[in-house]
């Protein structure tokens, strides 16, 4: 890495539970100090396993995990000094909020007055200063969540792990907590590794997102890069909505390629990951980047499509078309004044800028 020593480092880490199937395959990941990194992926993709290995609850089958410059494979979880926020909060139900927060401080041999100061400060940070004597069961879900965050931070760890911490909250509270956690991260400068399967959560909070699938990081990028420039069709499909359609490469030149679609039409696309002339490829195209009856042809690919269905969604009209050999070709038409009337059964021209269409994943 060009930067200084990474703070967290996965070095060729593999994990298997049964000795046969690898749930994490050869993972390499460097996280600099202070970064907010999210591990995003469908369930079973290996993201939680990675977090558990980092926390020390699962041993790596192969490879080494470093914290600072120390290998930590043989350090038990209670000696790692990593704060962790769990799904469903995991507050100790038999202890008051204050006792929950004092729990990590006691074991570190702090005296009572120091403990009280730190507990107070941590509770103030999550705006629960008056709740120290309450029991967890007396708090709302959002409040419990804040206590869990405060407990993970109270002993001032340099690394915080969060395992789907907002999964149990309703949508509105979840969005509010996303901002709060983001602000806490910014003000404390602590390193955060966050696990979620909710892409909007990942896009909102993260400096970088590692998209997991099948035990492999498919792409590690900033939120905007992930959306605008997916490396492969899994990422394109997983983040946001995406049209996929197949074609055959006619030519590749200067990072661009000409592709003959299965409908017989020819389009231009960015050649991200393609084979040579004559090979098959999958094209990826965001629905909101497609224009119906484009006014200009410059730098655009244009094909024709038949409107199958138009669903009115307020700010845009979700239009399903048959185009490019796919009958599930989705176009988001913004509900601007004077947009093209969308008549079902009618055939129209559709077009997009060449750079918006990415040729990914050669098909064997």
């Amino acid at each position: 890495m060009s930067e200084a020593q990474p703070f967290v480092r996965f070095d060729k880490v593999q994990k298997s539970y049964d000795g046969e199937i690898l749930v994490v395959k050869n993972l390499n990941l460097d996280i600099p100090a202070g970064e907010f990194v999210t591990m995003l992926g469908p369930s079973g993709s290996g993201k939680t396993t990675c977090l558990m290995m980092l926390a020390g609850f699962e041993p790596a089958t192969h490879g080494e995990i470093f914290l600072g410059d120390q290998p930590i494979n043989n350090v038990p979880p209670h000696k790692r000094g990593i704060g962790m926020v769990f799904q469903n909060y995991a507050l100790f139900p038999h202890m008051s909020v204050g006792e929950n927060l004092a729990f990590p401080l006691e074991v570190r041999g702090m005296d009572k007055s120091e403990r009280e100061t730190k507990v107070k400060r941590a509770l103030d940070m999550v705006e629960l200063g008056a709740f120290g004597n309450r029991m967890p069961a007396q708090l709302s879900g959002g409040q419990q969540q804040r206590v869990a965050v405060a407990r993970a931070l109270v002993f001032e760890p340099e690394l915080i792990l969060m395992d789907e911490p907002l999964g149990a909250l309703d949508k509105q509270l979840r969005e509010q907590m996303q901002y709060e956690i983001k602000h806490i991260h910014e003000s404390l400068g602590v390193t955060v590794v966050y696990v979620t399967h909710d892409q909007s959560e990942a896009l909102t909070m993260s400096d970088r997102i590692a998209v997991f699938n099948d035990g492999v990081i498919q792409q590690l990028s900033s939120p905007s890069d992930l959306y605008e420039r997916p490396d492969n069709s899994f990422v394109a499909q997983f983040i946001g909505e995406n049209n996929r359609f197949d074609g055959t490469i006619l030519s590749v030149r200067n990072g661009k390629c000409k592709v003959k679609l299965d409908s017989g039409e020819t389009v231009d696309a960015s050649a991200v990951n393609v084979g040579g002339k004559g090979t098959r490829t999958t094209l990826s195209l965001r629905p909101e980047r497609i224009e119906i009856n484009p006014k200009s042809k410059a730098g655009r690919s244009i094909i024709s499509g038949k409107i199958e269905e138009a669903i009115y969604l307020g700010d845009h009209i979700r239009t399903r078309m048959s185009a490019g050999g796919s009958s599930e070709f989705i176009v988001k038409v913004p509900n601007t004044s004077g947009h093209t009337p969308l008549e079902e059964g009618k055939t129209v021209k559709i077009g997009w800028l060449t750079g918006d269409c990415r040729a990914l994943d050669p098909i064997a």
Binding site: P71, M84, L91, V107, R108
Partner: protein, 573 residues
């Protein structure tokens, strides 16, 4: 990667938490599992040693009778418990009739009655000199047994009758919880599809409850195999009795071990049957919210019939024998007891308390290790440690005796050589053997109850405590133990009560002149003086009521849903 060799890719054995603390846990688990399974290995070893081969002798003499009697007893008990348990459970769960709510927990009462005590009681009641036949003779003017026919209670059918009348609650329990768990919607669906109440029961409720019913019957049959007091008294020569007499009567340990192997095969067969009956039986209830079953009121003369039907098992299995004991005890108030009841009770208490403590400790280690060491072979091992509960007490006792006696001999010889002191039967001849056997036998109970309690505590709590700086032991002490205290108390009570009632292993392993309440009752019954042992017998029954209370408290929760549902149904009308 650094050049140090320690950082080369190492194949970890899969323990979740590296470090020394973990190794201690693994060693502890290993030791417990080894001790818990050692009896089985000991029996197998002795049984297949060629030196004292009595297989041919066994096959030609004792075995056929033992096999037939065991098979008949098991089938009889199986059919009777299944019928009684299922029918009563269905009635009290689905219908309302006079005293149905009271009966729903009273049907558990026979659980408090050990098989040997009910057997002795019914011999007292139904024997020639008992009140029933005496009354008949007085009424009819008969003089001797030649004047009339009366069923002989001390027989195989008699054994089936008394054993089933105290073991049916296992089927009742599993059947009732299965019926309660069946969301009412499946029954409603079957009604809308045109099935009447009987068809709904036969075609929907019973098939859905089948795994539970089979599980209940299996427990009842295992208990039947464990029994020695009742069958021996009734002259039924089951495999269990045969093992007992081969060891104590003929002094042939290897013969007993060989018979024990056969009994183990029967046990395995039962367990396999249970598994087999559940094959592909993965039912999921479709609605996540269970409505309590709306109970229907039975009208007319049939409601009296329902009450009588559900009352009779309670009378037969608990009220009648308990009353007999009560009458006997009452009749002897003021008489000086032959043997000090207090010393017997003291022995039983001491033994049961120690057994409960060791079983809880061992169970806690196994359950807790399973929670934080995610290594599958270890999980399988901890479950293997439950095997003692499936093994009849007699078999287990012999299995414990074999290695302990060998160890005693070894220590004795060693001490003689070194110091000229004979230590004698240091372990096999003392309470140590008995405590060990009880611990092994009841480890399944403590593991089960503690495991269920810990299962309700989110594993994330333990993980959180670990990340916050506690070691595994510290997490257990500060977080998990306080949270599972009720489960531990329940587990300890269950083990305690089972140990108080235990007879077969105690008979084989008790030190000389050491009597518990159970062995005292057994001894007195065998010399036809059961009347004089009524107080100890009643004490055992009274202690046996504790788990019944625990069970009815857990089912108590479902009482509430029952009542609520009943109210709801009434409001609907």
């Amino acid at each position: 990667m650094t050049a140090e060799s320690t950082n080369a890719p190492v194949r970890h054995t899969g323990t979740a938490i590296a470090g020394v603390g973990n190794r201690v846990w693994i060693w502890l688990v290993g030791a417990i599992v080894l001790i818990a399974t050692a009896p089985i290995f000991a029996i197998l070893t002795i049984a297949f040693q060629a030196s004292d081969n009595i297989w041919p002798h066994l096959v030609s003499t004792i075995l056929p009778r033992a096999a037939i009697d065991t098979a008949l007893l098991l089938s009889g008990v199986g059919i009777l418990t299944l019928a009684t348990g299922t029918a009563t459970a269905w009635l009290v769960t689905m219908y309302r009739f006079p005293a149905s709510k009271f009966l729903s927990w009273a049907l558990l009462l026979p659980l408090a009655m050990p098989t040997y005590i009910i057997a002795y009681s019914y011999v007292e009641i139904l024997d020639f000199s008992g009140p029933v036949q005496t009354l008949l003779r007085d009424l009819m003017g008969w003089r001797s047994s030649r004047d009339y026919w009366f069923p002989e209670i001390r027989s195989l059918p008699g054994a089936v009758f008394v054993i089933a009348s105290v073991l049916y609650p296992y089927v009742y329990l599993t059947a009732r919880s299965a019926f309660l768990a069946q969301s009412v919607c499946v029954l409603d669906v079957s009604r809308t599809l045109g099935a009447g109440p009987w068809d709904s029961f036969r075609q929907v409720a019973i098939p859905l409850a089948r795994p539970a019913l089979v599980a209940g019957v299996t427990i009842a049959l295992m208990e039947t195999l464990n029994d020695i007091g009742a069958v021996e008294y009734f002259g039924v020569r089951t495999l269990t009795v045969t093992i007992y007499t081969t060891w104590l009567g003929r002094g042939s340990l290897s013969g007993a071990a060989q018979l024990a192997v056969i009994l183990l095969i029967v046990v395995m067969l039962l367990l396999w049957l249970e598994r087999w009956s559940r094959r592909k039986q993965r039912f999921h209830h479709t609605s996540s919210k269970y409505h309590g079953l709306p109970t229907k009121r039975i009208a007319g003369w049939r409601r009296v019939l329902a009450t009588l039907f559900c009352l009779s098992p309670v009378l037969v299995g608990f009220v009648i024998p308990a009353s007999l004991l009560g009458i006997y005890v009452y009749a002897r108030i003021g008489e000086p007891p032959g043997v000090s009841f207090l010393s017997l009770a003291g022995n039983s208490l001491f033994l049961s308390v120690v057994a409960a403590i060791t079983a809880i400790f061992a169970g806690l280690v196994l359950v807790y290790a399973r929670r934080f060491i995610r290594w599958r072979p270890l999980h399988a091992l901890t479950r293997l440690a439950s095997i003692g509960y499936a093994v009849p007490g007699t078999v287990l006792a012999i299995g414990v005796l074999i290695p302990l006696a060998a160890l005693d001999n070894y220590i004795d010889g060693w001490m003689k050589n070194l110091f000229g002191v004979s230590t004698g039967l240091l372990m096999s001849g003392t309470l140590f053997a008995l405590v060990l056997t009880f611990t092994i036998r009841f480890l399944a109970i403590s593991q089960g109850a503690i495991g269920a309690g810990l299962g309700k505590v989110s594993p994330n709590l333990s993980l959180a405590a670990r990340t916050l700086g506690r070691s595994a032991g510290g997490t257990l002490r500060d977080v998990d133990l306080p949270l599972i205290r009720p489960a531990i108390i329940t587990a300890a009570l269950l083990v305690f009560v089972d140990a108080m009632k235990e007879l077969p292993a105690t008979l084989l392993l008790r030190p000389f002149n050491f009597d518990t309440l159970a062995t005292h009752v057994y001894t007195y019954a065998s010399i036809e003086r059961f009347e004089d042992a009524a107080l100890p017998a009643l004490a055992i029954v009274a202690v046996g009521l504790v788990p019944v209370a625990i069970l009815s408290a857990t089912i108590g929760l479902s009482f509430r849903t029952d009542r609520d549902a009943t109210i709801a149904v009434q409001v609907d009308r």
